[in-house]
């Protein structure tokens, strides 16, 4: 059975600021990022749909100590965002001073862009992550 939406296709779309998801033919739930089976009901019949990428910050951290090869990036903010459609995504938050990130971020509305991670010797090529900004 062929995989409906592989990470490469998902990431190529993300680089165009298009967030792709999979809508389940059985239960209607949207699965993001892609998987073989619906995260709600485990059905495997799903259609590719475009998801808006709007959501709210559920939690966050500011990273001061990071992995080998990424030292120049610190400090940076990572957020978990709950999309309006339900799924959660991990990404970075830009547009604030990472040193001032506080609990007040939780619940704030965000919109999504993207950031390219060029990859390292272990990552089998580049990666793409959501890059969120606060909605005024």
């Amino acid at each position: 059975m062929e995989y409906t939406l592989i990470s490469k296709t998902y990431n190529e779309a993300l680089k165009q600021d298009k967030l792709l998801g999979l809508k389940c033919k059985d239960c209607g739930a949207v699965t993001v990022p892609p998987a073989m089976a619906c995260r709600q009901c485990a059905g495997q019949e799903m259609d590719i749909v475009e998801v808006k990428g709007d959501g709210r910050i559920r939690t966050f951290t500011t990273v001061f100590v990071t992995s080998e090869g990424r030292e120049s990036e610190v400090p940076y903010v990572i957020v978990l965002v709950e999309l309006d459609e339900g799924p959660w995504l991990m990404g970075n938050l830009e547009g604030i001073d990472p040193n001032t990130a506080s609990m007040e971020l939780i619940g704030k509305k965000v919109k999504m862009g993207h950031k390219v991670f060029p990859g390292d010797k272990y990552s089998a090529g580049e990666g793409v992550s959501p890059l969120f900004t606060l909605v005024e």
Partner: protein, 395 residues
């Protein structure tokens, strides 16, 4: 299904970077466990070994086969388990199943790791391999970052103001430091006792809100246990410790656990399996070695295993209910925070501690008086693998 006992245990000291290889470390722990079981290496029918990152630790793959040969367990089937920080618990659980099935009567299980040898940069990178490489690592996630986010989520969900939660988390580290300071096998033996709350809170921030003293160290070390059928165990020891309940469950990446967080669903499934199998409840457990990779992880674990209501474990630590003499003695070894966390060995190290506690063999300052029922809880990744086991005195 046969009853299965732990007959003998062994462990190296857990430590910072040191010179012995994983084969050498595991061989020391395994030989101690075999000797303590009144056995010889040739009596071992199979070897199950946890080792998460040996390829990166020291450029060594297939370490389990070389360990078997090195110890003198010649030509036995040898399996390696990789479940991030739960690797050794997976090995012990599978060893249990094979002995319980009757296929083998005596099996060696355990694990080894040299995480400290990698240094902080490479260790942080390789530990981050246990997050999703496509959908999480590009954002720069690290293991402290995962638990830092869970701490903020915990504060928000249970309406505990962050400064209050951070003080409760500090109490977790302080308790672990105190117990580890009197455990000669602990990485921080002789160190960090009676650390003031202010020092925990004021150390440098790794990932907000977690400071250095909220985080366990990178560690080198090995632990091993010998499991035997009840029949074989009778001939080997007067103090068999029976494994009476086991559980294991998995989950997808952190983002797929979404709304359930900060609770870890796999832990709740895994621990329920162990309780149901043993016919016991959380209130029956005298002593527990649980997965305190970060201070907040202790609170999440103790609640997920049912020792305390959700959102109240911090108060339990403040009141001493999670200490020796409390409701359940948590991590009298010092836990991952103070004993250390050589990830491929950690679960076997927890079993090592519980067995010695139930036999009343540990240092008097940290012995849980009259402990009869113990439990281990090991978390791999950010909830991707969970293993829980219940052990009981067999005499």
């Amino acid at each position: 299904m046969k009853k299965v006992a732990v007959v003998g245990v062994g462990s190296t000291k857990f430590s910072g970077p040191q010179e012995k290889t994983e084969v050498e470390l595991f061989s020391e722990a395994a030989s101690d466990a075999i000797a303590a079981s009144n056995l010889r290496p040739s009596d071992i029918k199979a070897l199950f070994m946890g080792n998460a990152l040996g390829d990166f630790d020291e450029g060594q793959g297939m370490v389990q086969a070389y360990a078997a040969e090195n110890i003198g367990c010649r030509n036995v089937p040898a399996n390696r388990y990789e479940g991030a920080c739960a690797s050794a618990s997976m090995a012990v659980r599978d060893a249990f199943i094979w002995v319980a099935s009757g296929f083998y009567d005596i099996v060696l299980a355990g694990g080894a790791e040299r995480a400290a040898t990698m240094g902080t940069g490479l260790a942080t990178r390789t530990f981050a391999m246990f997050s999703d490489s496509r959908y999480e690592f590009p954002s720069g996630v690290t293991f402290p970052a995962v638990f830092a986010m869970l701490a903020h989520l915990y504060s928000d969900k249970y309406k505990i103001p962050l400064p209050k939660l951070r003080e409760q988390m500090a109490r977790v580290s302080i308790q672990s430091y105190n117990h580890g300071s009197v455990n000669p096998k602990a990485q921080f033996f002789g160190k960090n006792a009676d650390m003031p709350v202010e020092k925990v809170l004021g150390s440098f921030v790794v990932c907000a809100p977690l400071t250095l003293h909220d985080c366990c160290p990178f560690s080198d070390g090995a632990s091993a246990v010998v499991l035997a059928s009840e029949e074989a165990a009778k001939k080997l020891t007067a103090k068999p410790v029976f494994i009476t309940g086991i559980g294991q469950a998995s989950s997808g990446p952190l983002i797929t656990q979404g709304d359930y967080l900060p609770r870890i669903r796999a832990r709740e499934i895994s621990s329920k399996q162990a309780y149901d199998m043993a016919g016991l409840k959380p209130g029956d457990i005298d002593i527990c070695e649980l997965h305190d990779c970060f201070s907040i992880a202790s609170l999440i674990a103790a609640e997920g295993m049912g020792f305390f209501d959700f959102g109240t474990a911090g108060e339990a630590w403040e009141q001493g209910w999670a200490d020796i003499g409390g409701k359940v003695a948590v991590n009298p070894s010092g836990g991952l925070k103070s004993k250390g966390h050589p990830i491929g060995a950690t679960g076997a190290g927890q079993v090592y501690e519980i067995v010695r506690q139930l036999r009343e063999e540990v240092e008097p300052e940290r012995q849980v008086p009259g402990a009869k029922i113990g439990m281990t809880d090991t978390l791999g990744g950010d909830g991707g693998t969970l293993v829980d086991m219940i052990l009981q005195r067999g005499w």
